[in-house]
């Protein structure tokens, strides 16, 4: 091996320094992009809430803080979030246990069905429930009045409790999915030894099973809590007309009423700060309550747990589960489809009132087609960019581990805890000409930027988890085998985490397709998204047309979801 002597060793040394630089470049790129996408909008909110024309000015903030409407909205937000979390968690844990641990029939089918509410856009659910139980004009309400000769509408969905009900129906899967997978990964011998030690079935559930899945429960509950606090769609559809505000709908109203003026946006920023404080407090509280006890007894391996015999309760519980599904999935779906065929909203649901005209309108209206195109464009673009950027951040945090990697991690996760409406305000403040003259307002790009911030943490999390599985020796082996740093990334690491990257893409693409919270504040005349279009059609009173578009949207979501499941199943497991 003489050829390596003297001079070439020096050359190689130069090469050695280049390699270090590549790590540095990647780290720097991460910091810069996160600064632009995440930090600037957040800083802009805080700055504008407390400063005006370069001077500290807290008068406006105090004014907003003491405004009765805002205080009421804050109270509503808390009430709805807390009850949704409690009820959703109970429901999620109950059905997770039923499907994961009992001998209830048709399990595979039930598991698939219980994932549907997760895909179902909550604001479309709210629309359906409003059609049925609106305090003034709900179809089922009217029917009940007729049937029993009642004096007033029996059920009013346009209330805090109505909002809680709808949110619980579509958010309980957060807990359900976490707990089901934890139950599946739990070592069954833990439960069996409790039985052998003399514990009764009921005691095993309370003293062993539940405490062991507590981390999964708390993770899911946290997700419900933060999602509900930040949620716009359901309270907007059910509460807005009745002047039942939550903080996100309040922010929308303030900005909407001011016609998008700077003052309105500043007020929105002030309310945003309130909302962020509430979310932060919720996160801290949650952490306090649930930090005690974190177990590592749940194994990665899948094992067959002993199933609990329900005996006599088997059929009633099975029926209850079916009924739940029918109530939260089938009924709203049928309602939306039925309404979409109506000639005009309010007409009785009879065959002679049915028409295809609404669909014709939907597919001939320029705005509607454009909204589908817009949503596809931003969702796919955001999905792709986030997929690569999230993987880059994950790689820097997991493998390069620069100083300040903690900061990087926190910044990228930050938008996860920041409500979509708040993020929108930050993006408006940052990118409507105030920084370096960049004005994206009323363009599709501002929605894209907001989506990037909002969804980056999704892809970062999946890529992070995948990278943790890729032991560093795999990349090192490639280096020793003669691959440069770049080559080892391209040949080894990327192919190994490709499945995770792809699923990260769909984790972003699917929710972005039906998103309304963020884009409702950002859309311009030509940049409505699918969610915004449905919302505005409904807002303008064109409810059957909104229902028709909603049916189309649900169709798109179902097709895409099936496609994703097919695609990810065929992948070679690594």
């Amino acid at each position: 091996m003489k050829k390596y002597g003297g001079v070439s060793a020096e050359l190689a040394a130069v090469d050695g320094r280049k390699r270090l630089n590549m790590d540095k470049v990647m780290t720097a790129v991460c910091f810069v992009l996160l600064l632009i996408i995440v930090v600037i909008p957040i800083v802009m909110i805080i700055y504008n809430a407390f400063f005006y024309e370069g001077k500290l000015e807290i008068g406006m903030f105090v004014e907003q803080l003491t405004e009765p409407n805002n205080l009421g909205a804050m109270w509503n937000t808390l009430k709805i979030a807390v009850f949704t979390t409690i009820l959703g968690t109970i429901m999620g844990v109950f059905y997770a246990w039923l499907l994961g641990r009992s001998d209830i029939p048709a399990k595979g089918l039930m598991r698939a069905l219980f994932n549907i509410p997760y895909m179902f856009p909550p604001f479309l659910g709210a629309m359906a429930w409003d059609m049925m139980f609106n305090g003034r004009s709900g179809y089922i309400n009217k029917w009940l009045v007729q049937l029993f000769g009642l004096q007033s509408m029996p059920i009013n969905i346009n209330s805090v409790w109505g909002i809680v009900f709808v949110e619980v129906s579509y958010y309980f899967p957060f807990v359900f999915m976490q707990v089901v997978s934890a139950l599946e990964r739990m070592d069954p011998t833990l439960e069996e030894s409790a039985r052998i030690a003399g514990a009764r079935q009921r005691q095993v559930v309370w003293k062993i099973t539940l405490p062991l899945v507590k981390p999964a429960i708390s993770a899911g509950a946290l997700l419900i809590l933060t999602t509900s606090l930040a949620h716009f769609g359901v309270p907007a559809i059910l509460g807005y007309a009745k002047r039942i505000y939550t903080l996100p709908t309040r922010i929308y109203e303030v900005i909407y009423n001011s016609g998008g003026s700077f003052d309105g946006i500043r007020q929105g920023a002030a309310i945003s700060v309130m909302l962020v404080v509430v979310v932060a407090l919720a996160l801290i509280l949650q952490n306090r309550i649930l930090s005690a006890g974190n177990y590592d007894i749940i194994k990665g391996k899948s094992m067959r747990p002993t199933l609990i015999k329900l005996r006599g309760a088997k059929i009633p519980l099975f029926l209850l589960a079916i009924l739940t599904l029918v109530l939260i999935v089938i009924v709203p779906l049928v309602m939306i489809v039925l309404i979409s065929f109506l000639k005009a909203y309010g007409l009785p649901l009879e065959f002679k009132n049915f028409t295809f005209a609404q669909y014709q309108k939907v597919f001939s209206a320029n705005g509607t087609i454009a909204s589908i195109r817009n949503s596809l464009f931003v969702s796919i673009t955001a999905g792709i960019i986030c997929m690569f950027l999230g993987t880059l951040v994950a790689y820097v945090v997991q493998k390069i581990r620069p100083k300040g990697k903690g900061v990087l991690e926190v910044i990228s996760m930050l938008p996860y805890a920041i409500p979509g409406t708040v993020l929108s305000i930050g993006v408006i403040l940052a990118w409507s000409g105030r920084i370096a003259g960049i004005n994206l307002y009323n363009t599709i790009w501002i929605i894209l930027v907001a989506y990037l911030a909002r969804y980056l943490s999704f892809s970062m999390k999946t890529s992070s988890a995948a990278l943790l599985q890729v032991h560093s020796s795999l990349e090192e082996a490639a280096r020793v085998c003669g691959a440069s740093h770049t080559e080892s990334l391209a040949d080894i690491t990327l192919p190994l985490i490709r499945p995770a990257m792809v699923s990260g893409f769909f984790l972003i693409f699917l929710p972005a397709m039906r998103e309304v919270t963020t884009s409702i504040l950002l859309y311009g005349p030509y940049t409505r998204t699918l969610g915004v279009q449905i919302y505005s059609l409904r807002d303008a009173g064109m409810i059957p047309q909104a229902a028709a578009l909603a049916t189309v949207a649900i169709g798109i979501i179902i097709i895409l979801n099936t496609l994703v499941t097919k695609l990810t199943k065929d992948r070679k497991g690594v």
């Binding site: 091996m1 003489k2 390596y4 002597g5 060793a9 020096e10 190689a12 040394a13 090469d15 050695g16 320094r17 390699r19 032991h471 020796s473 795999l474 090192e476 082996a477 490639a478 280096r479 020793v480 085998c481 003669g482 691959a483 440069s484 080559e487 040949d491 080894i492 192919p495 190994l496 070679k572 690594v574």
Partner: protein
Amino acid sequence: MANVKFDDITFRYGSHTVLEHFSLEVESGKIVCLVGPSGCGKTTLVRALLGLIKPETGSITVGDRVLFDAKKRVNVPAEKRNIGIVFQDYAVWPHMTVLENVSYPLKKQRRPKEEIRQRAMRALEQVHMTEYANLLPNQLSGGQQQRVAIARALVVDSDVLVMDEPITNLDAKLREEMLLEIRMIQKRLNATILYITHDQQSALQLCDKMAIMEQDGVLCQYGTDEEIILHPANRFTFEFIGISNFIPVEKDGKGMALNCGEKIPYEGSVPEEARSGGYELGVRPNDIVFDDASPLKAKVDSRVFLGSEYNYFLSVGKKQIRVQQSMLDARTKGVANEGETVGIRFLNTRFYPAKKGAETA
């Protein structure tokens, strides 16, 4: 083939010093086992050799080629060091077939396709894996993956082959087989192999020379296995390689005594420096023989038959010691029975200062 020279290597993780001024030279064409307890810095040393970490001081040379030199600011990147490695966890790439795995180093050298195929197949032949060429690693057993990793390290003519605990995950029988195979490969290629392990048994079986490392990255001894077993340089080497008994010795009137909870006179020779107290007598279980004529008496607590030898626990005073009796000895002199009192003699004694703080009683 080439020798490997570590000179004055220092490496720290933050404030934790793993290696300090570490030097070692591995001769060309030998299998050298680097043995030490976990956390002694052996893996760090290997990573420095591979170019995966950068030491603070010192230099690393393979043959006449400088791979790293802190003073001259030379640091050849990992991919240009031409060292074969078999990692502890194999690091066989799960998304490539066996053949693709083994071909990879050649592909990176941009060899012609036909040559890559031939050489990769030859490497697989050497580890008896040709019929698995088109399988994915998850279709192979741990031992087979191991062999893929070895083939991948063999496929290019590396200057040095490094194996980091390559057989710890295998079962006993396969371990034996792999050790023999590594031996044969080394003979065939006349390769320099640096073999890292914490398991002294496999080290003894495999190596030409052994380097013993102590907990804090200090090289205790470097020599042939015979030298290390028969002339351990210090207490650590003596204790780490093989099984050992330690009994404190003290002055007792004019003579010496063993402190076994009670003083038991000891008539064997004790070197001058150990007579002043604070020393311990060290003796291996197979260096203790039964001799009824000996004044030193012990009670037999238990006896276990291990196939090729007998293993005893004896009480000397209140202290328990371990004794091994070879089959030959057992056949000619007979075995001792539990509960019996026997005379014993220490053959190969050494004396080391007692460990501070550690009560050996």
